[in-house]
């Protein structure tokens, strides 16, 4: 106890017991270093979660694996490190499938706590959508891999009397999972099983029938996205000669359902026509662009060479391109043929199909007929798309609201009901 050393943390001097790990040493002096894999009374550090990353003598390392010794200089709360820690937590959220509202551990979860603590409302990383299983096979336990953060606590700590592992990592890389050994798990006493559940920093290890024994912690909800503003294009409002906005529309590989929806606003169409003039569009039957347009509305994806041509033409002639409807956004129904070789599609349609004449052996082709593409593409694979309006079809009011918002450079205000389609 009397073996004290001097260390420096964020510029301040402290005296701590030699050989202690940095997390505990800092804690004794009232300095908090966030940790996730590290837990109380641990024999040796795991160093798996990387949240306690700090800078020791100019080098980044984890504080749970750092033993304090004389003269070390530690930086804990530099803006960069704080952000790195936050990023790691965000990455864990992106990697797993975490649904706090339905989780038994919610309110009592280290990951959730840290996320609140760091003020995380949304992860900066795209979701990984990893395929993980919930393993109910064990007699007593549930292994919920969706929530597992692979901290290794259970692997290292929970063993049978013979010293055999109950939990183990399997596979590697992005596919690494923790799995239970069913046979060995049976040998645990009930209290040991409960210990395993409580050891888990998240809700991945659950003992059947025992999960609600402990009351929920307090759940706090925060209001998200209040200050967040959608991106708006500056100075975009230009009006045509007769003071109207010019809009073009087209249907590529779509069913015209979205266009039907366009017309579905009844008499409101009159209001629309007051500020909008249609150029090339099936609605006006104007086949070729006669002037530059403010907005182009695209229905449907690209299935043939003509679609591509039209789409590129739209990009050239329109200032803002909006893809509306699922087919334009992600290929939709026509894209289902991407799973079948093109040859089979054509043969089914023109040769072997029920409706084709017996003995048919020609697949229509002519230099004037557009060529089918190998795959059906969503529009954004071909040209840059500025805005997307999802739905199949999107609601008429919704479409016009978006168009109006864009044209008038107004703030978006679409209520939840308007884009909820179930």
């Amino acid at each position: 106890m009397n073996n004290l050393v001097n260390i420096k943390i964020d510029g301040n001097k402290y005296q701590v017991e030699a050989g202690k790990n940095l997390v505990d040493a800092a804690k004794e002096n009232g300095i908090y270093i966030p940790t996730l894999c590290h837990f109380h009374n641990q024999d040796h550090a795991l160093g798996t979660c990387r949240i306690c990353t700090v800078i020791v003598n100019g080098k980044t390392t984890t504080s749970c694996t750092t033993k304090v010794n004389e003269g070390i200089e530690v930086e804990i709360n530099t803006p960069e490190l704080i952000d790195t820690r936050k990023a790691i937590i965000e990455m864990l959220f992106a990697e797993g499938n975490h649904f706090c509202p339905s989780c038994e551990k919610s309110g009592n979860c280290d990951l959730q706590n840290l996320a609140y603590d760091m003020g995380i409302t949304v992860t900066r990383f795209p979701h990984v959508y990893s395929n993980k299983v919930v393993d109910f096979n064990s007699d007593r336990m549930i292994m919920e891999s969706n929530r597992c953060i692979l901290c290794m606590r259970c692997v290292e700590e929970v063993k049978t009397d013979e010293g055999k592992n109950i939990f183990s990592f399997v596979k590697r890389g992005i596919n690494t999972r923790v799995q239970i050994d069913y046979e060995e798990e049976k040998k645990l006493t009930q209290s040991e099983a409960m210990h395993a559940m409580n050891l888990c920093p998240v809700g991945a290890i659950l003992v059947k029938g025992m999960v609600y024994k402990e009351p929920f912690g307090d759940r706090k909800y925060d209001l998200v996205g209040k200050e967040k503003e959608a991106a708006r294009k500056e100075n975009f409002v230009k009006k045509g000669a007769n003071n109207k906005f010019i809009v073009a529309t087209t249907s590529l590989a779509g069913c015209f359902g979205c266009h039907m929806s366009l017309l579905d606003i009844d008499t409101d169409i009159v209001d629309v026509l007051e500020i909008v003039e249609f150029n090339k569009s099936p609605l006006t039957d104007i086949k070729k662009f006669s002037k530059r347009c403010d907005v182009g509305l695209i229905e449907g994806g690209c299935a043939n060479s003509e679609n591509i041509e039209v789409l590129k033409e739209f990009r050239k002639k329109c200032d803002i391109l909006i893809a509306f409807g699922e087919c334009a956004i992600m290929g939709g129904i026509p894209a289902m043929r991407n799973f079948v070789p093109l040859k089979e599609c054509l043969e089914e349609a023109y040769i072997n199909g029920l409706t084709s004449e017996i003995g048919a052996n020609i697949i229509p082709n002519h230099e004037d007929i557009p060529k089918l593409l190998n795959n059906v593409y969503p529009c954004n694979e071909i040209v840059k798309i500025d805005y997307y309006i999802p739905g199949c079809p999107p609601d008429a009011n919704h479409i016009w609201k978006v168009v109006k918002n864009i044209l008038l450079n107004e703030e978006y205000s679409i209520t939840h009901e308007e884009f909820k389609y179930d």
């Binding site: 990387r50 864990l92 183990s168 990592f169 890389g173 060995e184 840059k384």
Partner: protein, 594 residues
Amino acid sequence: MNILWDIQKKRRCISRDDMTKISKAFNISRIELEGVISFYHFYHLKHAGKYTIYLNNSIISKYKDFYRVKKAFEKEIGIKTGHVTKDGLFGLFETSCIGLSDQETSALINFNAFTNLTPEKVKTLISKLRQGESLESLSNFPENNIQYTPEENKTVFFKPYHQGNALKKIIGIEPDSVIDLIKASKLSGRGGAFFPTGLKWQFCRDNKSDQKYIICNADEGEPGTFKDRVLMNEHPGLLIEGMTIAGYAVGATEGTIYLRAEYFYLKNKLEKTIKKFLEKGLLGKNILGIEGFDFNLNIHMGAGAYVCGEETALIASMEGKRGEPTTKEFFPVEKGYLGKPTVVNNVETLCAAARILEMGLDNYLAIGTKATPGTKLMSVSGDCNKPGIYEIEWGMKLKYFLDLIEAKDPHFILFNGFSGECLSSQDFDREISGENLLAEHIQFQLNDPIEYARKMSAVGLRSGGAFMIFDKTRDLLPILKNITDFFVAESCGICVPCRTGNFLLNKKLHKIKLCHADKNDLEEIKEWCSIIKQSSRCGLGKTSTNCLLTAMLKFPEEFNKCLLAESDINQAFNLEKAVDNYDKIINEIETTYE
């Protein structure tokens, strides 16, 4: 692990029954064993075919003939990659670099090497195998391809070798003096980490223990490196002497060569050499008649995990565990294999140590530069006329080296393999040496190309040995994509920055490749790279983004040309390509109709 290998080889898979038996025998739980098996990609839980084919999918292979060869394999044996034929005769899999980059496209079939493959060769090969010809007679033992060595008195590795010459020098020298000698030679870890070898030996010597170990790291997994393969094939004895000397110096009596599974074909030769040494009294008890100087050697086979080149992961793997790097709470020289002090050295390092004793310190120091005396082995592959192994004196200018390998029109170089860095023409005046090095975190923080040129021009290029060169016809992005593919596959999965970070970077690169990305994506890549670099647990994660970062610094135009903002039309979309199936079908139909 050796037991697992026996089962895998005999039965072509490790079944549940086998697992239960093994786990009982070793008194571990079945799931722990499954964890070990599923960590290594050469172990299969399902039948892997009587002939298990591993085709190399690294970028050098891809730029040679990979796609056609792969297609040929798939056609000849009638299955897709990743599957096994119904009769269980063939299994076709992809694997990362197998250390034959100078002889691509290459594959391993039951760990026999097949180099310079072409679709035609594949066809005859498969039909001969079907007829029952033996695999051994069909395989071609990889060539050494030693392209260049300096003049005789300046050569360290590839000169005539005489058994025992190096080892005999220790007679009459104290172990401490051997360590001092190695320290004075400034020899440092040639695997690429460049830790001073003498110091490592010193630490190990100073840790008192009843048992110590010497491990030779022959898990040459860095894509594009194959120097250790050639070195072990050319002078296996030199390696053994190097290990014995190390054993003498630190007081270890046991040595292990951790040989990567991809080099199974070298095992025989190494074993024979060990036997010869035993017969001559150069291994075993009282070596060279020195009382109490015992040293024994064995070979441990890896099973396909890049991360096992990291020394703590390698030791874990030898202990029969998952090859996960430790937290470095203790270094191997303190608590290594089985908790005993252990020295882990690269093949080249150990061979160099033997040569230093043999040729004498002064002769060695006369070669190379001040900070890095001696010579370096370089594994050269890619777009040049003379791929292969080069032994060069440290201090050679990069542009002379490019002339030497007859690289036409070099555009970018992957220096040090996938965890190394990307070099461009502005680096060609730098020399290959360990002079004037900058701390790594400074080097990778440079954001401005001009500042980079100013700061780095005098800085030496220190290399672990991989040298992959690409000319102007090659696109940078597929190369970088291949690199992140590799790290996604090889990350051990223990820490999230490396496990998921690399996965996300891979997705990002894919997005850029498809021309869906904008400037923000590039900024995000930079940010994510530094997060991965800062917080990863071991060297694999820390270095996994080096290539990407340096490539972004040096070739911004390669990235920018794919960005969305530059153009409203997606450049990657090619109408002709997108309709070629249709054209083909119509063509076919028309010809049959006529």
